[in-house]
Subunit: 380 residues, 2 copies
């Protein structure tokens, strides 16, 4: 199987709300990624988006963005796994190139969610028969997990605060981040209002608009386009029981664990080989559980990495190095593509003030729903 | 690249309306396809569905169906291209297996669309800014194309009637078809009411519920599971300008033409090598235009194949051999998977009274939107 490489990336600043249309944002970032790769066209476009059906009354967004980008004619389809839709699109682009059937592909993520109705649409990620009717939301399920975690491990009051502090600190130097000017301390986090207890405002990623794209080709061809191709060393996906309540242990993210293990096997790597971890910090509790599931901490110890500042840029496991979902922003279908762009920045020494000292390998993990479907990619 | 084969298929009878839930239908047909392949589990599930966001208030349907089928743990994602969503899911399953990254995959299609709101949700396949606000629907765009065709080629009144007659005749012996008891003559078609002139009731596929699934693995492994694997000789996709009104010639289905040409090149085949053609007869005019775009007729001559009965089981280009979208039914996201099941029936001599005389090669083509995205698969 041919190795797959990234030869172009593009991201637009995450904003609370863009006036440009979904197709315009998607097309703009697609063209910019192609320009970055030095390509006029690609063979296929795979698009991640979760909410356009409801918020833009628009399906068929992949073909729409392809046309708007001047790429009518190419293969175009939408790939979805709710909050991990961007990672799912990336995975299909990866599979297409790895198969040898598609020479060049662009994975695009775009989401315009700062609209009336976003919360109702997001809630469709849950079981519409057995969760949503009880009033459950993505936030309430995460709150439930966080409450159980606090109860089981008797964590201190400041256990989770550093996840937000770190993200906001790293976002300050990322020109594409939604929150660049905020100075966020543990104080700020712990005095912010409760959304669903024990989740506070700063434990949550914001509702926002954004778009990002990456261009893939085989490693063999990559050198034609760039001197610094970044390789996708692994791509893996796994699911869990759909509902958190059906899982033996809701605090163990099996899909995160299984997809990470698959990825580590593919790349012949271990957690200790990972220089930084772009995780799915939509809620602080998910960061904590992911650090444990992937193997950076024992169950019950994930929060210690935060408290001990091991998640900072100079820590043992830097996370959210450009601001993460919390502070760069989480325009759902685009999020994983933003993360890939940022990982390429880190791996090619273009991360500015947030640059890690010569990182060689980065891990990306995206969560669809409340831990239901997880995608892992390793870049190097 | 490894060749990909079909080792299991399953379909449930298309019905006007199922009481079972979407997840139950999807899980039932997934288990049945696995049983048919003699497998307990697969590595990945790719799901085609267009309308569950609106009609079931449910996203994340791939993971939901995987869990309901007892397959929690595996990779699961949803793939979409509106009315070609089933074919898009098949294509991703194909790419995953062809890449060597996924050993066994199930492509599942499921749709429950006999619900209030189906038409509004279907209309989101069109441009929400430039088509839908004018009152355009999939039917009205097809009516426009049909009117232009009649005008340009001065076709006789009965030019399109045989598309419906043939489909309904073939459906009579298909136990999974929605319409099995109807005797439909050209008279019936031509005296049926107008939906949007010149489209009459019998020119349209019905709103209905259904689910179908196919299991794929590499050709190399296929012999372990079945003595009669059917091979996917080609898989290709293409798009066109999104809006019909932006195309140089709205009567030329460029995406159909381009994806067919790609597929013919992959398989080193030509139209004359094709023994039967499962096309996207959601509207009679699309059948006609597809016959031309794929190369079975010259532009302006597609309808002649119908009038001359060349599309019948004993004709030169048999189409809709088990009833097609019109008479087997068109549960959107499931449709292409039904077609694959039927093609396997034909290619393995299990098509009953509709059996073609030892067909070797079949062509499948699925249209997303009004000719916007087209997927072509060749089986043999």
């Amino acid at each position: 199987m041919p190795q797959v490489s990234i030869i172009g990336t593009a991201q637009i600043p995450v904003k609370k709300r863009y006036d440009e249309s979904l197709r315009q944002l998607g097309a703009r970032v697609t063209r910019a990624a192609l320009d970055d790769a030095g390509l006029e066209r690609v063979d296929a476009l795979y698009l991640g988006n979760m909410l356009s059906d409801e918020l833009q009354s628009q399906k068929h967004v992949a073909a729409l963005v392809a046309d708007e980008a001047g790429l009518a004619g190419i293969e175009a389809m939408q790939v979805r796994a709710t909050t991990a839709s961007g990672a799912a699109a990336l995975r299909v682009a990866y599979l297409a190139v790895a198969s040898g059937m598609v020479a060049t592909a662009v994975a695009v993520g775009v989401e315009k969610m700062s609209r009336e109705g976003a919360t109702q649409a997001l809630t469709k990620a849950l079981d519409a028969k057995k969760e949503a009717p009880d009033g459950a939301t993505l936030i309430s399920l995460n709150a439930l997990a966080m409450a159980q975690y606090i109860e089981r491990y008797q964590t201190p009051a400041n256990a989770f605060a550093n996840f937000a502090v770190t993200a906001h600190r790293n976002a300050q130097h990322n020109p594409n981040a939604l929150f660049q000017s905020k100075t966020v301390t543990a104080e700020t986090v712990l005095s912010s209002r409760f959304i669903v207890p024990p989740i506070r405002l700063y434990d949550c990623a914001p509702i926002c608009d954004g778009a990002a794209a990456v261009v893939l080709t085989s490693a063999q061809k990559a050198r034609q386009y760039t001197k610094t191709p970044v390789h996708i060393l692994a791509s893996a996906a796994a699911s869990d029981r759909f509902r958190m309540s059906d899982r033996q242990d809701p605090l163990r993210l099996k899909a995160s664990e299984v997809s990470a293990q698959k990825a580590f096997r593919q790349a012949d790597l271990q957690p200790k080989d990972i220089d930084f971890f772009e995780l799915h910090d939509a809620f602080s509790i998910m960061s904590c559980l992911q650090l444990e599931a992937v193997g950076f901490a024992q169950p019950g110890d994930g929060w210690r990495l935060a408290v001990e500042n091991q998640i900072a840029l100079d820590g043992a496991v830097p996370i959210a190095t450009m601001g993460g979902l919390k502070a760069r922003g989480h325009p759902i279908g685009a999020t994983a593509l933003y993360q890939i762009c940022e990982m390429v920045q880190q791996l090619t020494g273009q991360a500015g003030q947030n640059q890690l000292p010569s990182p060689r390998i980065g891990l990306l993990q995206s969560i669809g729903g409340a831990g239901t479907a997880v995608f892992t990619h390793i870049l190097g």
